[in-house]
Amino acid sequence: MSATRQKPLQARLGRDDLIMRGYMLMLALYLVITLALPLYTMLSKSFSTYQFDLSQFQIQVSDEQGNWNSDPKSAAEINAALGENGIQNFATSNDGRLAPTKLFPEFSFRSPVNYRIKGNDSSAVWLVGSKRHNSTDWLELDSNTFRRVSLRPVKSTGLANYATYFSTPALSRSIRNSLFISIISTLITVTLAFAFAYALNRSQMRFKGFFRLVAMAPILVPSLLPGIALVYLFGNQGMLKAFMMGESIYGPIGIVIGSVFFTFPHAVMIITTALAISDARLYEAAHSMRAGRWKIFRTVTLPGARYGLISAAFVVFNLVITDFGLPKVIGGQYNMLAVDIYKQVIGQQNFEMGAVVSVVLLIPALLAFVVDRYVQRRQVAMLSSRSVPWQPPRRRGFDALCLGYCLLITIFIVGLLGVCQYAALVKFWPYDLSFSLKNYAFDLMDGGGWNSYYNSVQLALYTALIGTAIIFSGAYIVEKTSGFHKGRSLFQLLALLPMAIPGMVLGLAYIFFFNNPNNPLNFLYGTMGILVICTVTHFYTVSHLTALTALKQIDPEFESVAASLKKPFYKLFARVTVPICLPAGLDISIYLFVNAMTTVSALVFLYSPDTTLASVAVLNMDDAGDIAPAAAMGMMIFYTNAGARIIHLLLSKGILKRTQAWRAGHAAMSS
């Protein structure tokens, strides 16, 4: 027992260790470049303010003969002399320009008067046309050229943007609106989804498989598609406008209905999992104690599913508050945070204010993310305890009730999709309902035409392939590297972060980071490459967690065995790990494919004329009033995703069948 604490031994690193750590660092670097740095750039942007400082500039005016009789004055003095007619508002953006001709009310470009301009020091910048000057020597210009001069602002750092944001009611009202819509949508969605999942899990009704399929359909379309359907049904020329009883669908009502539609599958999935793990023995015990049905529901069912419910609530909340497409299409004058980012950046070119709104939006999203992670962990702890699955009894009345309810939900989901398809096929809603394919002539509309569709498919394929490779190998490395705890936790954190970042925020951050001409990665801007990178990063977390789950099910000693046999880890990875995890790999790739097809938020900032996308085209055509073609394009996305899912299903089945010989037993062994 002479053991004393001393400096622990350090393992000498083998070749495998070095390769694995090197690869992990590479992937960490990838995430830093595609996530951390852009976000940091955006954050620092939100603290940057741009103002015109007129005292920087000296201006002198000649008489009509070109003699410099008058004294040179600072532009600030000139402005002050103008009093109320002068320039009052000096705040501007990064891109701001101020024409000095505004300082001379009598200015005429035909005048023979000449002007000279210089800066007090080299920080004073002005443009002549697009040529930059920051000289402290006089620059002489005739009046026609002086017309083309514009002064540039100076940058300062501080909270001024935030102050502006919170003192502008038109902007800060969006916080309340976003929270309101998200909370209402969450309450409705979780309630409806719980009832749906309950019917699927706890009844003996028929057509369960069909209902499961229907509930997942909204995942296959962009979130703005239900908005278009609602416009057709309840809009100004809607068939069912009378049902609105004078209310407008453009605004909170439309956003909430659409949000329920597109978040429903997410909530159903989470709650179904939670309900599926509840223990039959608890029900038997409750029955043996003669507890009533309502009492059992309150004391057994709800507590058992509570983590699922909380988790679903936060996921839905997050989806709604960060969604951009739906409120853009059907929000009308009702402002929400995600749309504000778009309006500030695309509409007003005020990038700094866009960054401020992004930061504001980031807070609830981060909060929801943290709570969800915490709750998920608790649920996993519940899952690992051995429970006996519960077999619901056959109860005629209850089963019929469940069937009826699920049918109603089916009508809602299939109905909205059907309306889109119908509207896309008719000539002119609602006046000429004869069928035509004219709405599919995308090349005649704004939005990039059929190329957008092909680009989207291309993007989805690249994202699925490259993303799966990067994410799966990253999860493998972080799971199987021995030691190196700090590096692994850092990587885990980076891999979880994307889930907390709203797409709009990510997209804007990419503009700031990649569109900077000084960034060596600037060449990516406007290419398909940046769209793929952005989409992979945006959807990194869920894929990463899927891969981790699959990897955790593999015997942890495989790596030890391979090392003892002196086989490098990548041989084991290729010959054993990948084949075993093929189903999980397919799940990840279909997830990435579908999301790449439907996502709008991040990419709306990043596409170029050569890389227009189908989902963005839906948005742009809708914006331009081509609603029927927008619906048609949306349904193209739906069919493509549905096709991809079918292919995925066939592939998965094929793989399972071909590998059944070893898989069947493997499952039995691990159970």
Partner: protein, 361 residues
């Protein structure tokens, strides 16, 4: 620890901490060339931690490990020379038995034909010549275990590490494989370290047993040595059955149990012992006597419950003179028949002085 020149694996001053918890405490051990050594102890005693340190899978916090004269203390796993079989076998489920065995042979300078020959040889050796094409899930537990063993020895490593290799098997298969494992190890002559919590397995298989408890080595010795001369009460009670009688002593070799004075000549007399001693004797060492006698270590007792255990009767013995202490004795069927032993009878038994051990509580 006979011939230091033949020592193949030498462990010196090994410590392992998990945070504040010390899993291994100053381990000193030598394993001889060709020997089969079992690490035996209850769960959490550090035996698996020690095995994993030898393999390089969990690096020790401090201490030195030498294999075949080379310091391997901090070498990465892939640069050490051992084959390993885990409790789960860790067979690659998507590869056939053959491919599993061949895994370590591929890309190591052997051509296809050599590999094939070696794999057939190994399949033959483990007695599964025609099961090579099957996937692990199509094999029984015992067969999987043998495939894992074949994979571990395929590259002819200098050291074979077995981490509870038999504990996932049925009792019958375990007994069968135990023998096969021993024969195979003899045939190959490979130095082997095996971790087990099954004392019977260790007794049958091991050339030497290392008994561990709370991260310490309690005793190292041959199975007979460990069984007959346990150095500590822990070893005594962990391996086999052991009667424990509260005792005190005033002079070495004399044990006061209840009102009786017993002579103890077995084992190691605990130094400066007085009160708080344990007199220990194995049930089978208690000898029934045909006649009454008050010779040394002879006791008159009443037979309590007798339980039939197959080849012997497990009998409870008690007597007022022993105080609260009770004895359990295993009497052979012959002895019971010959002496007509019955529950309730009085009987004289001998606790042979050389079999009566004394331990500090």
């Amino acid at each position: 620890m006979t011939d230091p020149a033949a020592s193949y694996l030498r462990i010196e001053g090994l410590n392992k901490f998990f945070g504040q918890f010390q899993a291994l405490k100053d381990i000193q051990l030598e394993v001889h060339e060709g020997e089969l050594v079992c690490f035996l102890g209850p769960s959490g005693c550090g035996k698996t931690t020690l095995l994993r340190a030898i393999a390089g899978l969990d690096l020790q916090t401090s201490g030195r490990i030498e294999q075949a004269g080379t310091d391997i203390s901090t070498l990465p796993v892939s640069e050490r020379d051992f084959g390993i079989v885990f409790q789960s076998y860790a067979l690659f489920p998507n590869l056939t038995a053959e491919r599993n065995i061949a895994f370590g042979l591929e890309n190591s300078g052997h051509n296809r034909r050599e590999i094939k020959a070696r794999v057939s040889e190994l399949l033959e050796l483990i007695g599964l010549p025609d099961q090579g094409e099957k996937f692990p899930s199509q094999l029984s537990g015992g067969q999987q275990q043998r495939i894992a063993l074949a994979r571990a020895i395929a590259t002819s490593p200098g050291l074979l590490l077995l981490d509870e290799p038999l504990s996932a098997l049925d009792a019958r298969v375990r007994v069968l494989l135990r023998r096969e494992l021993k024969e195979l190890q003899r045939k190959l002559g490979v130095t082997t370290v095996m971790v087990t919590h099954d004392q019977e397995e260790a007794l049958v298989l091991a050339d030497r047993i290392v008994v561990m408890n709370h991260g310490l080595i309690e005793q190292v010795g041959t199975p007979a040595d460990i069984y007959c001369n346990p150095r500590s009460l822990f070893v005594a009670e962990f391996i086999g059955e052991m009667n424990q009688l509260n005792a005190s002593s005033t002079e070495p070799g004399q044990l006061q149990v209840g009102e009786r004075m017993l002579r103890s000549e077995g084992g190691h007399w605990p130094a400066d012992a007085a009160n708080d001693l344990v007199a220990a004797i194995r049930p089978e060492d208690i000898l029934p006597q045909a006649n009454n006698s008050d010779a040394l270590n002879h006791l008159d007792v009443t037979i309590g419950d007798m339980a039939f255990m197959g080849s012997f009767w497990r009998s409870q013995l008690h007597d007022a003179s022993l105080g609260d202490n009770q004895l359990i004795a295993d009497f052979s069927i012959n002895a019971v028949r010959r002496l007509s032993l019955q529950s309730g009878n009085r009987l004289t038994v001998e606790l042979p002085a050389d079999r009566l051990l004394a331990f500090r509580r």
